[in-house]
């Protein structure tokens, strides 16, 4: 009798003691600081609490370029993290590093986790999917470019607080605002993302050959088309007339709008959080303006943000944990909480539906504009996204040339021709290393 209960006690002790439960750790490196970092930690904790086999450890590694460098170095030293958050401009680099990454589709298949690529919003998933339909990385935090107006400033200028829909209307509105004494009429964040990349998708024109680079590394930029030149020229004229105040290459424009300084603004959907927090402006969010004489416009906008890549070189058991975590992240409730808490778009149709049913969009119309703009029409080859190698440098090149136009130093045609020339050099260099 005693032996049996003794054995039972031992067995129980072994089964329930923590040492018997060696949790498999999954290392996740991300670049979400501040409040977003708190949201990320919440996601990890929720997942860890929902099951006992795996533990996701989320570490903030600094901004995207720094964390990517650290991950590359770690990989070379043989201890890369399991999951790495990489910004969208790094997609081609990650994709080309075939020996360093494991496509998400493979991770899910190997772990036998149910995974349906069609459940994801096409514009969102398309950016990170190869031409055969295999999802390479997991879309995590995506936003798109929106157009914001300061309704108070409009009213003060005697205008109806209605957002212009075309660029023609935009320029007319801008001039009226300026004439009424508004010092800063329009500013923008992320100039290349808004006025070249999203602009091209919105007007269904290519940014580069081979389906914006998705079809191969031997792509060339095409951002010096007559339409692009015309648009950049328009911006340059506006800058000269004082209708457009350039604020910088990243999201420096956000602050100019949220402080009430500028009346109109184009920037990321994720700027809404900051605008709301500042609480100074009566604002509304709208579709980007378009040139109505372009056939096919408006098409749909493309995303910006980052995705989660799975790095290679780890154990199979650990990848099971990764797959479970990605499945967890895809759940509608989890997505809804992430979406409403951060302003990033939900990545699945189900999550979108769930959020809509909850009445969230009635309270926050700006949140739905994002998704509506992304799904305005079925994406074409020109509007699925882009995939250019070393696009960190590529985007900077484009922005440098744009800055020259805004400063009145170069004409739009020369600037864009130079951008294409310099951009292509970068693409060729990347192609050489990716062979």
């Amino acid at each position: 009798m005693i032996m049996k209960s003794f054995a039972a006690t031992i067995a129980a002790a072994v089964l329930f003691s923590p040492a018997a439960y060696a949790q498999t750790e999954v290392q996740w490196w991300h670049s979400m600081g501040g409040a977003l970092g708190d949201r990320v930690n919440e996601l990890a904790s929720k997942f860890n609490a929902s099951q006992k086999d795996y533990k996701v450890v989320a570490t903030y590694k600094g901004q995207y370029p720094v964390s990517m460098t650290a991950a590359i170095a770690a990989f070379r030293a043989g201890n890369a993290p399991h999951i790495l958050q990489v910004f969208e401009v790094g997609t081609a680099t990650m994709m080309a590093a075939k020996g360093a990454i494991v496509p998400v589709a493979k991770v899910m298949a190997d772990a036998k986790e149910p995974f349906n690529p069609k459940a994801y919003l096409p514009t969102v998933a398309g950016y990170y999917t190869d031409l055969e339909g295999n999802m390479l990385s997991f879309p995590f935090n995506s936003s798109t470019a929106l157009f914001y107006i300061n309704r108070g400033a409009f009213k003060k200028a005697g205008l109806e607080p209605k957002a212009p829909r075309t660029w023609k209307e935009f320029t007319a509105t801008a001039e009226k605002l300026k004439a009424s004494g508004q010092e800063c009429v329009y500013t923008t964040a992320w100039p290349s993302w808004v006025h070249i990349e999203n602009f091209s998708a919105w007007h269904n024109v290519p940014i580069g050959t081979k389906q914006n680079g998705m079809g191969g590394f031997d792509t060339q930029f095409t951002v010096n088309s007559p339409l692009h030149v015309r648009h950049l020229s328009m911006l340059g004229d506006m800058a000269k007339k004082g209708l457009f105040t350039y604020a910088g290459r990243t999201n420096q424009g956000d602050a100019k709008f949220s402080s009430g300084e500028c009346a109109m603004f184009t920037g990321s959907a994720s700027a809404q959080g900051g605008i709301k927090k500042a609480g100074k402006v009566d604002w509304s969010a709208h579709f980007l303006p378009y040139h109505d004489d372009v056939k096919g416009a408006p098409q749909n906008s493309i995303i910006g943000g980052a995705s989660l890549w799975v790095m290679s070189g780890r154990k199979a058991e650990e990848y099971k944990g990764v797959a479970k975590f990605l499945a967890f992240l895809s759940r509608p409730e989890v997505q809804m909480e992430w979406h409403t808490g951060t302003g990033y778009v939900p990545i699945t149709m189900a999550a979108y539906e769930l959020t809509r049913k909850s009445g969230y969009y009635d309270k926050e119309p700006g949140a739905e504009t994002t998704i509506k703009q992304l799904t305005n029409k079925t994406p074409t080859a020109n509007s699925k996204g882009l995939r250019f190698g070393n696009f960190v440098q590529g985007r900077e090149v484009i922005e440098e040339e744009m800055e020259a136009v805004f400063a009145g130093k170069k004409g739009a045609k020369t600037a864009l021709d130079d951008a294409v020339k310099r951009g292509n050099e970068i693409l060729r260099k990347f192609e050489a290393t990716a062979k």
Binding site: F75, T93, A97, Y246, N390, E400, A404, F406, T433, K435
Partner: protein
């Protein structure tokens, strides 16, 4: 120079040298060799494909107008920082040499910026000159000047020059003061007796006698402008706008870290190394000469 009296031991000197040599090999020579090796290769960021390409990276650099522009930018930046840094400090040192009362107070009040990190200096001045909210920007706008260094390259250059000079004034000031105070009074008195006014005395006696110090500071300031100002630039303009403030060392960092172009960045490092060697050799040859005065 050698010591007459020395100790002999078979192992002690090696033991004493070991820590420094070890750190030097692991953290200086080994990376330097690796850097040189990388400069001859073309590789993807993850190191999965590497090809030996000989001098191709170097050729690409010298063919790139942006790299050559970076030389120009660095030269302009260094000259401005060195010239204004030296000129302003010289004026202050000359004045401080003249006054008897309050000399220590002035000295204390002028040397503390030495303690400020270049990056912090950059942040302070960027705040003063911030396009929307800066105090100095406000004054400039009232004077009718359109100040927006985010878009005007030469304004951005002005900002980083001011921040860099501000920080360096104390260092230069100390050396000039020491130099001035080591000039024999008898020479100055003799000239005064001959009827030379303070201005004449300065240009004909003081300035020439200061030339070793001036030259030494010139080299130091140029090396400072080449390297230590990295913090200023990264904290403010990050090489922009449109590469207007992209000095050579910043480009090495940008290409290596942000653009993950290891071959190009390493090639730039190698070139930069040759420049440093030249400057250091210049400084040392000069310093050796000075010791013999």
């Amino acid at each position: 120079m050698e010591k007459r009296v020395v100790f002999r031991s078979a192992w002690l000197p090696y033991a004493l040298l070991a820590p420094q040599i070890a750190v030097t090999i692991v953290f200086f020579f080994w990376p330097a060799v690796q850097g040189a090796w990388f400069s001859f290769q073309l590789q993807d960021p993850f190191g999965l494909h590497t090809q030996f390409v000989g001098l191709q990276n170097f050729e690409a650099l010298f063919a790139s107008e942006h790299y050559l522009a970076s030389f120009r930018t660095t030269a302009v930046f260094s000259v401005l920082v060195a010239f204004f840094g030296l000129a302003i400090s010289l004026v202050l040192a000359t004045m401080a040499d003249r006054v008897l009362r309050g000399a220590l107070a002035y000295k204390t009040l002028l040397i503390w910026p030495y303690a400020v990190a270049p990056a912090v200096a950059g942040v302070l001045w960027a705040f003063l000159f911030a396009p929307s909210i800066g105090v100095v920007t406000y004054v400039l706008k009232r004077l009718g000047i359109d100040w927006n260094w985010i878009i005007h390259g030469d304004q951005a250059m002005l900002l980083v020059v001011i921040a860099s000079v501000w920080k360096q004034i104390s260092y230069n000031f100390l050396f000039f003061l020491a130099g001035l105070q080591s000039i024999p009074r008898s020479l100055i008195e003799a000239a005064a007796i001959d009827g030379a006014g303070p201005g004449r005395r300065f240009w004909t006696i003081v300035f020439p006698l200061l030339s070793p110090t001036t030259f030494f500071l010139l080299v130091v300031n140029i090396v400072y402008a080449f390297f230590d100002t990295f913090g200023v630039i990264d904290a403010t303009t990050q090489g922009g706008p449109a590469q207007a403030t992209q000095i050579l060392v910043y480009k090495v960092y940008y290409d290596g870290v942000k653009a993950a172009d290891l071959g190009g960045s390493s090639a730039q490092s190698v070139i930069l190394m040759f420049i440093v060697i030249a400057l250091t050799a210049l400084q040392f040859r000069f310093v050796e000469r000075r010791v013999q005065y």
